[in-house]
Symmetry: none
Subunit: 198 residues, 4 copies
DNA sequence: TATGAATGAGCCTTCATTCAT
DNA sequence: TATGAATGAAGGCTCATTCAT
């Protein structure tokens, strides 16, 4: 792929992210995205075979970027508890600095459907959950964590982070670093081996 | 309002719920909803002034039904901890028996926007959070709960329940009753006054 | 026709006049007219076989009322010149006191068409012109008026009055009595036997 | 703008004129106009942002064409009386050769309203009146014309020309050149300084 | 590599009319 | 005498996509 190809595609993907984040999946037509990129509509058609193709590239790009930013932070932690905390902190840190990307990603994953009404990118949503599952199960095997249903916990952590985003979207003055520490504490208590006596 | 009016409106609202739950907000056109109800498109226009009007009635109907089913269970609990557990259990119980309604509700709340791109029903989403906030703060005042950021916890509980729904939607064999108990334990640990020594 | 019939029909006709005058022929739907009359749409359908039927009754009613108000004033004048002046004055006087009726009449006559695009009430517009033609030709026979094309003059007088209405509609502070006298003078000069030397 | 753009736009404008003139403003839907032009409905949407946009372009095109055809004839006349006569003659001459355009123009100006019910192009109707006003006032200043209300006279001349159009529309055998001379005489008599003795 | 032009399908809404009650 | 209910047709408009250049 030529340099110009790559640059154009990146530009269009960026415009799609911007548009979807700003006005939502539903109103983000190719015309709007083209307008955002200040190019003609057919340029998009030329570089992407489909609207779906474009959206898929957006999802891929954001997800891989996100993973790339998180991976080294996770691997630096020796314990499962440490990795769980790092997971929470790093995801919220990414969120804080890439809000439009994450909003766009969520919009697309939650809304883009095929002709039969099925969510096309539903599985992509599961990737971060799988990541978490691995961490949690390792912690349980190592005796760091108590015996919980790891799937429930993975879902809950994932959703908690989504909730932080929602909250931040509605109240931009929310301090995400503090929010992260609250969640770290919350999930430490929820996973710790030592239950408090009662 | 005449009997026939009430019946038709209920039928249309039900068809709208069914349609939105099945194929998502974005594809749920009046034509599809009318098709689902096996009536002509203009019957909807006759009974509702707008598509937005119809959606609003759907939101209202589901939310009030939901609240009504939850209220007595909450009020039966004397302690904040009990009310928190009851909140989790009753919401998941409602979910289990009214999945289409809740899916449709979420779809509409998360997607319906006005001409300026603002989510019209955003506030309706906040109602259950406010409910939770009250419970959590009461628990803190009474010394039942530790000193956490109540907003973070309220968001997290809300999101955890939504996560249960998502999980159940994707894997229908999920046992929501067990899921509920996992969450009850999780949030008991996360809120309890007695922190474990470390 | 029963009393109640007559009253209802009159009420509906009045509402139609009001509505057409207020928002124009194009937007004056049966629903709007019914709203103006504070009755249900089907009441109109019951009393008039058609929308066209209703409009026809409106035209008839306004035209006959107008003629009735003008006739005695014309017949009181012995000379053609007097009758021409009386015609101008009386039409503008009627206009001043029945603006909504006249506006509605004009809207309907100028806009209501059948399926083939033909103006249905075009002929009704010609009635006042015929009236004028008779006056002008009588004046020419009697030697009161110079030798002009009576059709041109009849059209011009008619249009001049319409112009007064338009002007008054746009600038309500226009004094129609003064306007009438200007027109009387104008058409006296234009019709008089004695041409000024030049 | 490309050649093809210009051509298509002109074609669509022409089709709109044809359609509006033939079946009136009210029935002139985009579908009908597209049918007249033998193109698909969405071609219109592609070249004009709106139905209103199209209508505006029609009004603009006809008015500027009309003005352009009249201007040199007016400026060739040294006296106000000459300009008034030239105004009458040239407008009727334009009418004779552009009847569909003028009919369409009038239909649109008299009927197109915004959402609040206001006639959108009302002001465009006033332009020819302003032109006339200038001529009449100049004639009065120069002592060529008697002391009349110039606004009344301007309206009356304008309406007289419209009357000629109406007449011609209904009776196509009307000789507009003769009609013009009748009006020239009429308004010469009506404006001349020398009143006939009486 | 880029794009202007065109299109058919579908969107929501309004409308005059019909019909059973 | 009145009307609530229903409907099909048509309205203007947006959309993703295709195609020739």
């Amino acid at each position: 792929m030529s340099f110009i190809q790559t640059a154009r595609r990146a530009q269009i993907i960026e415009a799609a992210i911007e548009t979807v984040a700003a006005i939502g999946y539903g109103q983000a037509s190719l015309a709007r995205i083209a307008g955002q990129a200040e190019i003609s509509k057919s340029v998009i058609s030329y570089h992407f075979s489909n609207k779906e193709d474009l959206l898929e590239k957006v999802v891929e790009q954001v997800l891989s970027d996100w993973n790339a930013s998180m991976r080294p932070l996770l691997e630096a932690e020796p314990t499962a508890a440490g990795r769980l905390a790092a997971y929470i902190r790093s995801r919220l840190a990414y969120l804080r600095e890439n809000r439009r990307r994450v909003v766009a990603l969520t919009e697309i994953i939650m809304n883009h459907r095929d002709a039969d009404g099925r969510l096309v990118f539903a599985e992509r949503d599961a990737e971060p959950v799988d990541e978490l599952l691995a961490i949690l199960r390792a912690g349980q095997s190592a005796g760091e964590f108590r015996a919980f249903d790891s799937m429930v916990l993975a879902m809950t952590v994932t959703q908690a982070l989504e909730g932080a985003m929602t909250r931040w979207a509605e109240q931009p003055e929310t301090d995400l670093a503090t929010y992260a520490e609250e969640l770290v504490t919350l999930f430490r208590l929820a996973t710790d081996t030592q239950e408090p006596e009662r």
